[in-house]
Amino acid sequence: MSTVLQDPLAVETPNYLNQEYGWKSWLFTKDHKRIAVLYIISITAMFFIGGIFASLIRVELLTPQGDLVNSDTYNKFFTMHGIVMVFFFLIPSIPATLGNFFVPMMIGAKDLAFPRINLLSWYIYIAGAAFALAAIVLGGVDTGWTFYTPFSSTYSNTFVITAAVGVFIAGFSSILTGLNFIVTVHKMRAPGMTWGRLPLFVWANYATSLIQVLGTPVVAITLALVGLERAFHIGIFDPAIGGDPILFQHMFWFYSHPAVYIMILPGMGVISELVTCFSRKGIFGYPFVAGSSLGIAIIGFLVWGHHMFVTGMSMYASLYFSLLSFLVAVPSAIKVFNWTATMFRGSISFDTPMLYAFGFIGLFTIGGLTGLFLATLGVDVHVTDTYFVVAHFHYVMVGGMVLAYLGGMHYWWPKISGRLYPEGWAKFACLLVFAGFNLTFFPQFILGYLGQPRRYHAYAPEFQVLNVMSTAGASILGLGYVIPLIYFLWSMKYGPKAGDNPWRATGLEWQTTSPPPTYNFETTPIVTEEAYSYHTQKETHVG
């Protein structure tokens, strides 16, 4: 990897970090880059809070008996883990951080279309997080992050309204981010930046934004109706007056299935950037990778019933949703094949971002394939609501999404902070994450297949060995998360200065200084080349 010779006479260039100081310049900023940093700090905090609940879950599951806490408390652990991780980490993660920072730069714009709405979306996120934290502090919620009625609407004695309000508010943050990206990509591309030249990271965030805008309002109204039902002690989901619990699930999953594509698509966008840069090669099949993002976004709205196969939904609807769930795997597979073809005959380097990309491709494939098992009606009847499902979604969300987030953070850290992270420690942490992750979640596939149900604080004694392995893996995984936090912070003061383009990557964001100036580009760039034009780069041998 290129090392940058330190010029002892180099002065800190004016950039978005040093041009203004003081809390007001941060809390009232309109700069998308500063807002991205605000988001990075907030979602990292929420991630570790969600992680604490994960740790509590894994500690309880060391023993077959429910001996650490009672079942009500355990219900609160997995509920808060789910709510915090899904709504306050995974949904905003890449779009609000890396997307906010780099989408405008990648298209040659000075900022997003609506900078003040961008800042508003962060404040709204903080307000939502405040409600979620309030729900935790007041005593928690025990409905599961899925808020199924009538338990959530009538029978639960926990702080459902507080949590639902938090999720409702956070949904608005998500909607505003998506709205901003859509208008920005349509209206603010630099001259020459045609749709066909957009970096795939932009395509991925655009597709994600479509889902955010079309799906989130439905979960918003659904949770609002649950909240109103709790407040008025009557509502449309109340079985006593003829309400249908299945209708709640239809309404909830109409959003929550596309939501998982909100979570994974930006990660896939990151992988496209990493695979091309660290194979020194243009993406194989650009139109197919771009189109597959849109395909996932659209087909993703046609599959939600696969969460409801055993609820009493019509068998014919189950057939429909099963078939479409198979279909939605196709665009994802197209991406995996195209990334692999990109690497073929490329010049591969094994820097940390690329290691995370490798991890993503392997683990996402496993997660995705096990999703097909779950889409198969006969198999799903056996493994639904078991740890098989838990393992499946953690493979795609952690093995996929979190690895993509970490890969992207390492890749763009020099640009965001102007500093290099320590590569040795980074590789070590990556190894811990990969090993810890697999040790945590692979046994859960076996446990689920053997019949351990999810959301139970006790289990049959013969499952203990695998559960202990899982908890051991979780400890290693946790360490793997903490180490980057430490060295990223360390690098801000002590890391070597990164040059403008330490990875010699293509892309407009690498044409500015690290960190970039507040206005991104002194003059609007004019784009004349296709994306990922590595083949026209001059070969320079790094000493």
Partner: protein, 237 residues
Amino acid sequence: MADTHSTVAEHSEPDHTAHSPHLRHHFDDMAQQFDSATLGMWVFLLTEIMFFGGMFGAYTVYRAMYPEAFASSSQYMNPLYGAMNTAVLIVSSLTMALAVRAARLGEQKVLQLFLILTMIFGLAFLVIKGFEYHEHWVDNKVPLFGGHWDYSEAPQFARQAQILFCFYFFMTGFHALHMVVGLGLMTTIFMMARRGTFSPSYFTPVEVSGLYWHFVDIVWIFLFPLLYLIGRTKKLI
């Protein structure tokens, strides 16, 4: 790739003489700013379509499940109030469209007049709604509050009719909330108009507020038949 990496100069004081004072600096020109604002409002309206749409979807499912109970409840709606409210909103959409037109033409006084009229009609809608809610309260058709539900004329529908009335109050309630927000928007636009903010080269806030107002009208255009008019021919009670 265009080489934009030059030595970073200090960002000089922007020259305001060449463009409208309303141009935000991350945009290249006013046309881009206007196009972005209107597209942004349409994307927002898309979210509103899905927000109300969720309720319409749930309503439709229950109507299909309990057609007679739902039809019976329309006997307790006052279609005259509903029709009046529909007419009031349609007129307010007319005055709103004329307000946007006035803004485009730079007719300041006409703009202010039509904004006021729009607000008056909006307020009239809410007043009529208030009367309606009061009548339902007096008639004991408000299942949301204990002791205010009485369906003894048609006890066979009493359970499921509560679902319909929950939808009635939630759907018209969220709609009324959006009307209140609309009135707030109109007030803000009116204040800006009074200060002479708008001209043929800058009327974006009027345009996008108009889009929002028309959308709220459209929601009511669908609420009216669904809540008031279905099943009026059957004597179910």
